[in-house]
């Protein structure tokens, strides 16, 4: 309770006491925007943590070995993520639904177990110590980025590109019949999503003195997915609200922090059953599928492809 009272009555004191939490909310909001982008285009791509690691490791390694600036390191991390996303996206995006999810999980885990935990340069299981970190100086850039991406995310849903994504999400065959290049549009969404994840990873790495390989596992991706589904994927506001609410929750209710993943799972189930469109969305008039799994499936774009 004290958490909310302080937030409302003494915002400055609250901010000073919870600077790291505010920054973490921002990073998670960026990650949620990243996964929202692919969900909006109808793809359940679960490589968010992997691309986050690409951004984090690239920027920190460049800072340690080449003494590059934060900006140069971040840009390099994003560029590398874009290249990797384009390379794996070309074959992988032929897959749909649950198969795409499995392939992208595979990529994330291969990156973590195959490269990060095995390569001396990345510190293997030890992680990297980033002496140049600035735990509080990053808050402003993080939240300016969230605001900028939220604005662009809102604008992009009204462009030709964004409306083509929505069409692809609903029905790929019909979209193709409207002259929409389905593969190219999916690839653009996937690459942009990877770049945003890498960007969030690079910023996150400069808020912490230590780059911890356990931070980039599959469970991190699932957390981010829960942010987006809780908030709703109909607009970019949903994932941001979801990320902030769920990141702050364990702080607001201390008892919850020990059971964070259990709590996330429970929240996901409640949302999918009672508010499948997410917190931030108008109620739809379409009939909801019955049952937990069918609803989850339709939320995540896993619905079985209709025969023609």
């Amino acid at each position: 309770m004290g958490f909310f009272i302080q937030l409302l009555t003494d915002p400055v004191g609250f901010y000073n006491a919870h600077e790291l939490l505010v920054a973490q909310c921002g990073v998670n909001a960026l990650l949620a925007i990243s996964i929202w982008l692919t969900l909006y285009a109808g793809q359940l791509a679960l490589a968010t943590a992997g691309f986050m690691a690409v951004g984090a490791y690239t920027s920190v390694l460049l800072a340690i070995h080449q003494h590059t600036s934060l900006v140069a390191g971040t840009v390099s991390g994003c560029a590398l993520a874009a290249v990797i996303a384009a390379l794996i996206g070309l074959p992988v995006l032929r897959l749909r639904g649950v198969f795409l999810a499995i392939a992208t999980i595979g990529f994330g885990e291969a990156l973590r177990f195959g490269v990060i935990l095995n390569w001396p340069l990345t510190g293997e299981g030890q992680g990297l110590t980033n002496l140049g970190a600035n735990p509080t100086g990053g808050i402003l850039p993080v939240w300016i980025s969230v605001a900028a991406l939220a604005y662009l995310g809102w604008r992009i849903t009204r462009t030709r590109l964004g409306q083509a994504w929505a069409a692809i999400r609903e029905d790929e065959l019909a979209a193709a019949a409207s002259a929409i290049d389905v593969r190219a549009h999916k690839l653009v969404a996937f690459v942009l999503s990877a770049v945003i994840a890498a960007y969030a990873g690079a910023l996150d790495a400069h808020l912490n003195f230590f780059v911890d390989p356990t931070e980039y596992g599959f469970d991190r991706t699932v957390q981010v997915l829960v942010f987006a589904v809780l908030g709703g994927i109909g607009s970019v506001a949903g994932p941001i609200v979801g990320a902030v609410a769920l990141t702050a929750l364990p702080e607001a209710a201390r008892w919850a922090s020990d059971y964070r993943d259990v709590l996330y799972g429970a929240i996901l189930m409640v949302v999918v059953v009672f508010r499948p469109q997410g917190l931030i969305a108008r109620r739809r008039q379409t009939r909801r599928p019955d049952g937990l799994w069918p609803r989850l499936r339709s939320r995540l774009g896993l619905a079985a492809t209709r025969a023609q």
Partner: protein, 534 residues
Amino acid sequence: MASPLLELSELRQYFGGVHALDGVSLSIETGQVFGLIGPNGAGKTTLVNVLTGHARGGSGLVRIAGTDVAGKPPHLVASAGVARTFQGVRLYHELSAIANIIAGMHRQRMHDIGRELFAPLGRVRRARTARHAQALGLLELVGLPDEVADRPAATLAYGQQRRVEIARALALQPRLLILDEPTAGMNPLEKREIGRLLSRLSEGGLTILLIEHDMPLVMSVCSRVAVLDFGRKIADGEPQAVARDQKVLDAYLGTETSCGSASEDDTTQAEGATSSTAAAITTGARPATSQTRPGRGLRASDLHVHYGAVHAVRSVSLAVDEGEIVTLIGANGAGKSTLLATLSGVLRPSSGAATFDGLDLTRAKPARIVAHGIAHVPEGRQILGRLTVRENLELGGYTRGGSRRLAADITRLEERFPILAERRSMPAMTLSGGEQQVLAIARALIARPRLLLLDEPSLGLAPILAESVFGLIAELHRSGLTILLVEQNAHRALSLAQRGYVVETGRIAFSGSAVELQANPEVERAYLGSDPRL
């Protein structure tokens, strides 16, 4: 003569040993309305899929205005100016009707994402308003009121969805429009409106390839017609000449029911040979009589059903006595399908009562209702595409158990509809649209229901097959099965049924015996249009 707008040469496509297309050539001139007809499974939709790039692995030449597009992916064929609709209607379900149409404008919109993202909001809003107005114009063109613009596509009635899909195709600003059975599931009045729409589009210079089973429509709007049968072209020419062609009559139109109009006395031809089949399937131990037993059967009173914000069914009361055959007719969107779905427990009414032989249909789960003897054949087939034909039939008997009699029933149905035997071990989705309809009906009969809810059984069927299905319905009725039939072919439905209800915007507008309804000029005017033969 200028080169044709569309030229197909030696088109071939094989699906697992089936020659879906076996060397078809045809050419369509600019401005033509070209009709493509043929029995179910003849390869009409496959031809369209090969032409638009939606089916891969075909061979042959596809030229659009002289440019070869064979083997190109669908978006490039669409970019060349070919728009299409789908036989099964593929709208973006969660998007509104208007958003569906706007998504179809992809080709004509500004390509510069940077300028779109950073343009001043005022300019963006003006561009949106302009697109919105254009989309509303298309909605009006296809004959839909503005009120449906903001409704999610999934909540629209089937016939309305078809029109939205046509509007979306027109949003591409095509040079060639391909329509795959645009009037399937529409009543005669709506069919006539579609006919007028096609004529108007054609007068505007649009070239149209029309796949259609409604022969009067084909005859009235097409300037040239080709006929497919078993993946081969068996005729191609002037509509009148094609309609007289003996091969076409044999393969497609049938001799008596030429042009698919509803003659009232043709039930007999399909029946004689196979009436024993239906009797054997439906009744089990019950004697085969068509005697009605009032007091038992389906009862519904004061039913209200809401679909989100839409009040789809308003205070409907109806009764179907045991052994009776009753039809529900009415325009698209009147609430007929919603009513059937409510009676089978798929939808829940907001108030009202419905019972069948003592079972409360408003509370019982769908599975319980099926076990109690109600089988529902939904509109649009809903077969299980990845399972084989045989597996689909076996699932129809899920509530019965007892494999030997089940197998015997399947054998009888396979005799009645040989296609079910021929394609026994193929995935059901490889069946053509009409064949899937047959499978859906057969699957419902396997459950040995006492009450059959049939939603548009003739939708998408070629005239001969449609007659065969109507013949089967008559047989099933005579063998004692109680039937509630929803059908767009109202004259045909009323000639089969004993009684009927006319549904108008969720209410029952008229009810009475089939003879009364057929004679009632109000019914004609409200629903059928003045000339039922169109």
